[in-house]
Amino acid sequence: MKKNSIGQTTTGKRVAGSIGKYFIMLVVLFISVYPILWVFLSSFKKDPGGLSLPTQWVFDGYITIFTKLNIQTYFLNSFIVTIISTFISVLIVSMSAYISARMQFKGKGLVTLMFTTTLFIPSISISFPIYRLLGDLGLKDTRTGLILIYSGLGIAITFFILRSYFQTIPKEMEEAAMMDGCGYTKTFFRIIVPIAKPGLATAAIMAFLNNWNEFYFASILIKSKDKMTIPALLGQFTTAYSKNLNGMFSAIIVAVVPTIIIFCMLSEVFVKSLTAGAVKG
């Protein structure tokens, strides 16, 4: 190891260092923000696109998507599908994760392995059997079908987060509850769930984000326009609406801005959620 004293580092080097740092940060800011900003500015142009600023601010696109396109319907669909599927998956997986974190039984290793390996099963490679299964169940082109799929898609991440959270809860909690005559089920819902709220919230945020943004299954399963989610609607723009450019640019903005606003308001919560389960502090 070379040993330089800090005093020897010339100011020139340090200046170059911080120029480099700020240059990298600028690049990051540019690639992250500019594409969205460009779409935002373009959405107000009479002739959307190009590098210039709007000379004349036009709101036609926004008016169209709220009045003619009824984007509210798609938001509502997205909300229904996302909230229900997030709730179901967090509920079901939390029960399994609790058993895996706490109970001793035969086949425990197998059950844990089962949930964790789902991380390595690509959803598109198995999408055709799922598509057919939903057809057999009569769930093609229904929101229920989408909810069923979304409930299962994020199992692994939810499982990781919740299992490690349950493991941090001291065992004495349950023992005390059992002493007081609480059954297993009651102990879980009355004692464990309230304690594990932060972990559950983290898992729910992750599941919500993934389900809210899911595009593939939404685009292959839902064909009726009144049942589409926001990402599926955006997929339609590649062909159907390419003539209404203002509409397309405005729809992109309307689709991404709620996520961005919520993220800005709750950035610390998000940051914690996104890193949960993976980082050992």
């Binding site: 992250s32 198995i126 055709f128 199992i155």
Partner: protein, 303 residues
């Protein structure tokens, strides 16, 4: 009698009841489809025998696999593109993300803002990102053509109409967006014992030396995790292709995922068996990849 009694305890009943919904969900969404694609990859099953897959017979057991690699041009394009995208995430996305994480870890002014901005492309829907880039690349309303015309007047580059450029068009719609990975790395760096840095400072190590000799070795397991996630993303790439190029021009930007979709669901010559075979290959490729990356990033010392 005794063992039976022991098995049906209240506790076991509880374990069973709590695991059951999870296992059912796993069965429907993962186990059944996975078994199904494995089995049907050994059958003849397309639009001609829509209802009933036909077993290929022991002599022709691997026909679907052989055909994919010998006759099916689209599959070969998809296969190599997916591998290229995996490699590109390893040589572009991971180093870039790591560099950003190391810079932000020094907490220069505005680091938090930069970090949060970097996450935004990862939390908005990839459908939106795809649509944004579709417009950016458009010759009539986009900006790439305009910018290229500054340097080479009259070049009128059309990113998505050119086979070679279209691949890079898809690549640049995701390759630099490593925000969540950056966040994971950053959190891991912040959790490194501060006394290590103090000691290095006392020894007079420079910033780059500290990064190289303290941060990077301790970051290795997390780099492995992040690399697995990124490689998986590259291998499974679908949304960007579906929205930006739709596999074109001339099927040059197919990925494995897009091939599976097109073959099993999205064309007139539906070939379910072949789509499922490609699914099996994608699944196995993913496992190999995870194994390789885990091996490369495994820390030798256990402490």
């Amino acid at each position: 009698m005794k063992t039976r009694k022991k098995f049906f305890t209240k506790k076991n009943g509880f374990i069973f009841a709590f695991l059951l919904p999870g296992i059912v969900l796993f069965g429907i969404i993962y186990a059944y489809p996975l078994i199904d694609i494995f089995i049907t990859s050994f059958t003849k099953w397309n639009y001609k025998n829509f209802l009933q897959p036909e077993f290929l017979g022991w002599d022709h057991l691997f026909d679907n696999y052989i055909k994919l690699f010998t006759v099916d041009k689209n599959f070969m394009v998809a296969f190599w593109n997916s591998i290229k995208w995996v490699i590109l995430t390893m040589v572009v996305q991971i180093p870039f993300t790591l560099l950003v994480a190391l810079v932000l870890a020094k907490k220069p002014r505005g680091w938090r803002l930069t970090r949060n901005a970097f996450i935004i492309p990862n939390i908005i829907s990839t459908a939106a990102i795809g649509l944004i880039f579709l417009n950016i690349y458009s010759p009539s309303r986009g900006i790439i053509t305009e910018v290229c015309n500054w340097f080479v007047p009259g070049s009128n580059v059309s990113v998505l109409a050119n086979e070679g450029y279209a691949f890079w068009g898809v690549t640049f719609s995701f390759i630099l967006f490593g925000g969540s990975s950056c966040l994971l790395l950053l959190t891991q760096i912040f959790s490194i014992d501060a006394s290590l840095y103090e000691a290095a400072k006392v020894d007079g190590a420079t910033g780059i030396q500290v990064d190289r000799l303290i941060t990077l070795p301790l970051l290795r397991p997390m780099l492995g995790t992040v690399a697995v996630m990124a490689a998986n993303y590259g291998l499974l790439l679908y949304n960007e292709i579906a929205l930006i190029t739709q596999g074109g021009p001339d099927n040059a930007t197919y990925s494995l995922s897009y091939y599976i979709y097109k073959t099993a669901l999205g064309s007139t010559k539906l070939n379910f068996a072949r789509g499922n075979t490609a699914g099996v290959i994608q699944f196995l490729l993913g496992l190999v990849l995870v194994g390789m990356i885990n091996r490369a990033f495994r820390t030798n010392k256990v402490d």
